[in-house]
């Protein structure tokens, strides 16, 4: 048999609660982090990612106590991102039982951090998250930081190549303009990053249905398909309902993979 694509609920932490944004703003409360993790346990999700969207912009430390509580509760691998600036923080986060630490703005400003983190905890636990947006009328993607408010002026492919060379074990690209819009993944973006890398990649931003996930898997095979809104909202009024494909639905998604191979 084979390695499966990963379908990853990606949750945002804001003021100690889980929220979902649209276009990186208007956070809507979706629930208590521990409760939501318990629901995802029951649904046997592949893995989970949580990003604290306050930590970097407010200059805060990661909330280690909350992370430890989440890690204990979580029966699937957990990735944490938000406000990670030093190797000491990376080690502390791994120490409380989180499997993967996501580095974003601090790693772009100071690439040495990625290398030092990989050296300290191993590449497999170091994830680089790039929030990206295409230049106007172009398919060149640029990297943004601080909740998409600061344009680094660097391209996604440049930063991705540098990150994996420094030892990142996974690259997550987040399509800023598709955040919360549920209109489908940016397949151009997924194609570019998939071709340019030799570490696992995960695409975030835009998934609005299982068909969108299927489309991603059909085109790119074993890839990480991450989504926020899709797994916390139901219906056109965006009522909060934590959900995840059933094992039957996941088997159907895998068929599209077999079809490719």
């Amino acid at each position: 048999m084979m390695l499966r694509p990963r379908i990853i609920p990606s949750l945002l932490i804001h003021d100690k609660g889980l929220v979902k944004t649209v276009g990186f703003s208007s956070p809507k409360y979706v629930g208590d982090p521990i409760n939501v993790v318990r629901i995802f346990n029951e649904k046997a999700v592949d893995e989970l990612a949580v990003y604290d969207i306050d930590a970097t912009v407010r200059g805060q430390e990661p909330d280690y106590r909350m992370l430890e509580n989440l890690a204990v509760e979580c029966r699937m691998p957990l990735c944490y991102g938000g406000g990670v600036k030093t190797v000491e923080q990376v080690k502390t986060i791994i120490g409380v039982g989180i499997e993967k630490v996501a580095i974003s703005s601090a790693g772009i400003a100071n690439p040495r951090l990625i290398a030092d983190a990989a050296e300290a905890v191993g590449s497999q636990s170091v994830v680089v998250v790039l929030d990206v947006k295409p230049r106007p009328k172009s398919t060149v993607y640029e990297v943004f930081t601080h909740n998409a408010t600061i344009n680094t002026g660097r391209t996604m492919l440049e930063v991705a190549a540098e990150s994996q060379k420094l030892g990142a074990g996974e690259i997550v690209v987040n399509a800023i303009e598709r955040d919360g819009r549920m209109i489908g993944y940016d397949l151009e973006l997924a194609g570019q990053i998939s071709k340019a890398t030799n570490v696992p990649v995960t695409i975030l931003g835009g998934a609005g249905s299982l068909n969108h996930i299927e489309e991603l898997i059909r085109n790119f095979g074993v890839i990480g398909a991450a989504a926020g809104s899709l797994f916390v909202f139901k219906g056109i009024y965006r009522a909060v309902l934590v959900n995840y494909p059933t094992s039957k639905e996941r088997d159907r998604l895998l068929e599209s993979l077999v079809h490719v191979a």
């Binding site: 029966r75 300290a120 497999q124 030799n198």
Partner: protein, 205 residues
């Protein structure tokens, strides 16, 4: 009493929580004296090989663990890097491993990986146990676990291999020699399959 060895790496609490949820007594040992009443040991770990060995050496528990495992034959289950350090050495590091199972840890060969070749090997993959392997009781219909690693165990003797998995090539993902067991994947993060495997380890005579 199942004792999870806390030498500063890996999700010790997750193991203890899972066992307690299954009504199996479990505790966490951070010092040598806390290892005293153990009947089974879990040796977790994530991260780099040398980092794991350094922390284990610095924990003050290594000699007690060696006494328990090698002389008193207390069963031990190494997980992820906790499994890799059971080997004699690793291509990832310079330090010697515990050497409790004859083998070494090697990096995946990028030339054999499916295109595009991606490392680490990350995600859910099928595991194929050897017939009759106690650790995999109840998995006759097949099983699937979460992996996160770029290096894999290579046993010197095929007798010590209890399960294989495939990523570009077939590799040894579960090992067993006497009272010493190891799994490369993360049972504590593999939902029902993982709970079943941890229960099997707990119930083994």
């Amino acid at each position: 009493m199942i004792t999870v060895v806390n030498y500063g790496l890996g999700n010790v609490q997750a193991f203890a929580t899972l066992y307690r949820r299954m009504n199996i007594p479990a505790n966490i040992a951070t010092t040598a004296s806390q290892l005293e009443n153990t009947t089974k040991l879990i040796l977790p770990g994530v991260g780099a090989f040398d980092h794991a060995m350094e922390l284990l050496d610095a924990s003050g528990m290594r000699s007690t663990l060696e006494e328990l495992v090698l002389h008193r034959k207390v069963p031990v289950l190494g997980v992820c890097v906790g499994m890799q350090i059971l080997a004699k050495s690793s291509e990832e590091g310079k330090l010697a491993g515990l050497g409790w199972i004859d083998g070494r840890v090697r990096r995946f060969d990028e030339s054999t990986l499916p295109r595009p070749a991606r490392l680490p090997h990350m995600g859910w993959n099928d595991v194929m146990p050897k017939n009759g392997a106690q650790l995999f009781n109840g998995f006759e219909q097949g099983c699937c676990f979460y992996f996160l690693h770029s290096y894999h165990f290579e046993c010197a003797s095929s007798d010590d291999v209890v399960a294989k998995s495939e990523y570009g090539m077939s590799f040894h993902c579960a090992v067993h020699s006497n009272n010493i067991y190891g799994v490369q994947f993360h049972p504590e993060k593999s939902h029902g399959y993982g709970m079943r495997l941890l229960k099997n380890f707990a119930e083994m005579q």
